[in-house]
């Protein structure tokens, strides 16, 4: 147990390298400052120690040039630290367009993870090496925090909203996943493992998972189950807007404002339909709060995002197949989920 004392964390993502570079810069600058001050204090304390009880001292009241020097000089050093830190932070806030999607729901006290191919995991996350991965996260209850020290990735997972972050693993292996925002009794057990795998190994893993259709397929079934189709039918006499190609578009609202149809807007419209009613439509939609949980919302959103013109299910498709039955997605490839997820995000995200 005492065999090895780790002193530095594993460096397993592109971000980790950048964070560590800044960390070492800070260590060097701050370390030098600490040594300088400690050295001066010790030197003065020794050199000017009291040798006689009636010792006298020169009446030095200050030195304005020196004061201004040590007021202004740190500002330049701080500016470097600030810009460097902001640069890393900004790049972590903006996922690259080719990043693979992973959806994370935190709840007391576990991590529930969904892949676009429909694979689900709990407290484990399997991802391929050398590929950017974008996480979209939300919480079912309190605030959690998704923290992978080896990736230097940390983001608060907040109930009622989606947050996003991304990373690109550079090294295969197993890494700790921690909840680092205190969330109650078993906070310290809300931990998991991130498995970074070679591309082939990862493909095998995906294929071995018992996924019941892609995330969008599962969302399509929920779309039918919740009877969304009754109004969002894409027919001429439909009582609600057509959802095809909606994601990422700018929508005009009844109150004269506009909103970009992103994850947050879609989620809000399902849970609080009266909040932002589309221009030209009546506020007749019931809330699905309490019916659709966070994981189901993610699936519904995946379906709506995937909906291309002409793909809305027909309204009389009422016989609902069992959820676990293999099913042909509309115009999709039934083996799609066995490939590396190729889900492409469209439009911009709601939260950096």
């Amino acid at each position: 147990m005492f065999a090895e004392i780790p002193l530095f964390p594993e460096q397993a993502s592109t971000t980790a390298q950048r964070v560590d570079a800044l960390f070492f810069f800070l260590c060097t600058v701050c370390g030098s400052m600490a040594i300088l001050i400690a050295g001066l204090v010790l030197f003065f304390a020794f050199k000017y120690r009291r040798r006689a009880e009636d010792e006298r001292t020169p009446r030095i009241m200050g030195n304005n040039r020196l004061e201004w020097f040590w007021t202004i000089a740190p500002l330049f050093v701080f500016l470097i630290m600030f810009l460097w830190g902001a640069d890393i932070y900004t790049s972590v806030a903006l996922p690259p367009p080719d990043a693979a999607d992973v959806f994370v729901v935190g709840k007391q006290w576990m991590w529930k993870i969904q892949h676009p191919g429909g694979q689900r995991e709990i407290n484990e996350l399997h991802i391929p090496v050398d590929r950017p991965v974008k996480l979209t996260l939300t919480s079912e209850d309190v605030i959690h925090d998704f923290f992978v020290p080896a990736f230097r990735t940390k983001i608060d997972v907040i109930p009622g909203r989606y947050v996003q972050t991304w990373f690109q693993p550079t090294k295969t292996g197993r890494y700790h996943l921690f909840c680092s925002q205190y969330c109650g009794t078993s906070h310290a057990n809300m931990v998991g493992t991130v498995f970074v795998m070679e591309r082939d190994e990862y493909r095998q893993w995906l294929g071995g998972q018992a996924a019941t259709g892609s995330l969008a397929d599962q969302g399509r079934q929920l779309f039918l189950k919740f009877q969304c189709i009754t109004c969002h039918s894409a027919n001429a006499e439909a009582r609600a807007p057509i959802l095809e190609g909606l994601f990422g578009r700018t929508v005009s609202l009844r109150n004269g404002r506009t909103v970009v149809a992103d994850d947050a807007y879609l989620r809000e419209s399902i849970l609080y339909p009266e909040a932002k009613v589309v221009q030209g439509w009546e506020p007749i939609m019931p809330t699905f709060k309490g019916q659709a949980n966070e994981e189901e919302l993610i699936r519904l959103l995946a379906f709506i995002k995937s909906l291309k013109p002409g793909q809305t299910p027909v309204r009389n498709e009422e016989a609902l197949p069992p959820l676990d039955a293999p099913k042909m997605p509309p115009g999709g490839n039934p083996k799609q989920h066995e490939a590396v997820p190729t889900y492409q995000p469209q439009g911009k995200s709601n939260e950096p």
Binding site: F44, T57, G62
Partner: protein
């Protein structure tokens, strides 16, 4: 320089009512009632001293169990819920019932009137009231913590605190809410006193830096505490009646709470550390027998900290889904607030230059403060860097950082101040050897406890973890070992200071040869502080004069 300038103290032709020889504030009246109904700021300071010392050791007891539990990765000592209640109790007691009040209410209460040459604070009865309010708040909170406990952490983050926690959240918050009024009253009292009751000749620019530090801290107390009160009320309203403010299920915003909470709780760090900085300015000048280097810069840096301290709250929320631009603004402002702290450290160092340095116990604590506070401040630069904060936020790196500031800084300063003014407060000297030993033990114990936590934090160990991966054990054991040394260091003064009351040799009015007005009157001081009202004719730190010219 004429000799009148060097004394800083000229008898005024308006004598106080005569007092019996040897009569002082301690022996002027005896009995419990004479203490519980006193309006003497010095006696109230003693009441506070006893109260916060008890609270300090209660908070320390919780820390002891925490560190013992973390000796093993499996958390064998206490169950998870108990552990969560322990760290909550530790934080709540130490922040609100020790660190915030300790220096202003003990040393500030005792010294603000004496340093400005006044008989008492501006509102002596309000001063006593504030002690009662504080004690009532403390008793309610302690009762809540002992009878069931609370498991939200001292931060009360929503919606956990407002909805999910099944522990004594309400009574704990009520106790903290009540004690907040005590903070506000003390702050108001200090501000009013410093504005209206300074001795003739004691201009703002001649005030000792201890007073400036208390002035700045009082402004923060008065402005920030109400925001905490509001935040706690809102949590209570949501918890009791389900009115949606923070809970997204009710249409609230959980992050809003963090804004309100840190708008108070960041400035509150400066309430803890500013008075401590004031003590360091007094102690360093006295024991290097030199005027402070750059008085005006230290004074303005106190004011600067008080103002800028209000503008950095959101740096606690860099990973809480903040917009990139907002994060960048708060990062930049956080770097700005580091500047005034750096100015102070540089000036204290420069004060030592060409001094006549005598290593008495208060100076040892002050040098300990400079070392630990510098490390705390420099690691703050890591946290202000957005890219690094992303990794170390909510890990043991943060724990180590704020303990360096709040314990290494604030508590070291308090210990220095307590040892510096103890002879004035009690009229007795404590054991020279034991007090120096305590300073050394505290310094070494502190470093051993918290230095490993920086490493743990960068390795990724999150805070508030009851159990942890086994590879973190060695560093945790090191930290716990250091904590046991630290505990010895904190218990030791309890004995020798108590002992000094009975067996300490009489201190005389000015055992350190210090210049402040408080040293120009007998120790312990008479109830009216000064037999004759002082007149001030010089700046506060006129040490660089011939020994024979200093009035003893």
């Amino acid at each position: 320089m004429s000799s009148a300038i060097t004394t800083g103290f000229v008898p005024q032709a308006k004598p106080r009512p005569p007092r019996a020889p040897g009569e002082n504030y301690l022996n002027v009246a005896i009995g419990v009632k004479s203490w519980l109904f006193t309006t003497d700021h010095k006696r109230i300071a003693i009441l506070y001293l006893v109260t916060v010392t008890i609270l300090f050791f209660l908070g320390g007891a919780a820390a002891t169990v925490i560190r013992l539990n973390l000796m093993t990765p499996t958390g064998d000592l206490v169950p998870a819920d108990t552990y969560n209640k322990l760290f909550s109790a530790h934080g709540i007691i130490m922040v609100w019932f020790f660190l915030v009040p300790v220096i202003p209410t003990v040393l500030g209460n005792f010294l603000v009137p004496m340093m400005i040459g006044a008989r008492d604070l501006a509102f002596p009865k309000i001063n006593l009231l504030s002690w009662y309010i504080f004690t009532i708040g403390a008793v309610i909170t302690l009762w809540a913590l002992i009878a069931g406990g609370v498991d939200t952490g001292w931060t009360f983050y929503t919606p956990f605190s407002s909805k999910y926690a099944r522990t004594n959240v309400m009574p704990t918050m009520i106790g903290i809410f009540i004690s907040g009024f005590s903070s506000i009253l003390t702050g108001l009292n200090f501000i009013a006193t410093m504005h209206t009751m300074r001795a003739p000749g004691l201009t703002w620019w001649r005030m000792p830096l201890f007073l400036w530090a208390h002035y700045a801290a009082s402004v923060i107390l008065v402005l920030a505490t109400p925001v905490l009160a509001m935040a706690l009320i809102l949590v209570g309203v949501e918890r009791a009646w389900g009115i949606g403010i923070f809970d997204p299920e009710l249409g609230g915003d959980p992050v809003l709470f963090q804004h309100l909470f840190w708008f108070y709780s960041h400035p509150v760090v400066y309430i803890m550390v500013l008075p401590s900085m004031g003590i360091i300015s007094e102690v360093v000048t006295c024991f290097s027998r030199k005027p402070i280097f750059g008085y005006v810069f230290i004074m303005w840096s106190s004011v600067g900290i008080a103002v800028l301290g209000f503008l950095v709250w959101a740096h606690h929320m860099f990973v809480a889904g903040q917009s990139v631009y907002s994060a960048m603004i708060f990062s930049a402002l956080s770097y700005l607030v580091a500047v005034p702290s750096a100015i102070k450290v540089f000036n204290w160092t420069a004060t030592l230059y060409k001094g006549s340095i005598s290593f008495e116990t208060p100076l040892l604590f002050a040098l300990g403060f400079i070392a630990l506070f510098t490390m705390g401040g420099l690691t703050g630069l890591f946290l202000a860097a957005l890219g690094v904060d992303m990794h170390v936020h909510d890990t043991y790196f943060i724990i180590a950082h704020f303990h360096f500031i709040m314990v290494g800084g604030s508590v070291m300063g308090y210990m220095g101040g307590l040892h510096y003014w103890w002879p004035k407060m009690t009229g007795r000297m404590y054991s020279d050897f034991l007090s120096k030993l305590a300073a050394l033990i505290i310094f070494v114990g502190f470093i051993l406890t918290f230095l490993p936590q920086f490493v743990l934090g960068y390795l990724g160990m999150p805070r508030r973890y009851h159990v942890y991966p086994p590879e973190f054990q060695v560093l945790n054991v090191m930290s716990s070992a250091g904590a046991s040394i630290l505990a010895v260091g904190y218990v030791l003064p309890l004995f020798y200071l108590f002992w000094s009351l009975y067996a300490g040799k009489p201190a005389g009015p000015n055992p350190w040869g210090a210049t402040g007005l408080e040293w120009q009157t007998p120790s312990p001081p008479p109830t009216h502080n000064f037999d004759e009202s002082p007149i001030v004719t010089t700046g506060p730190y006129e040490y660089s004069v011939e020994e024979s010219e200093i009035v003893h």
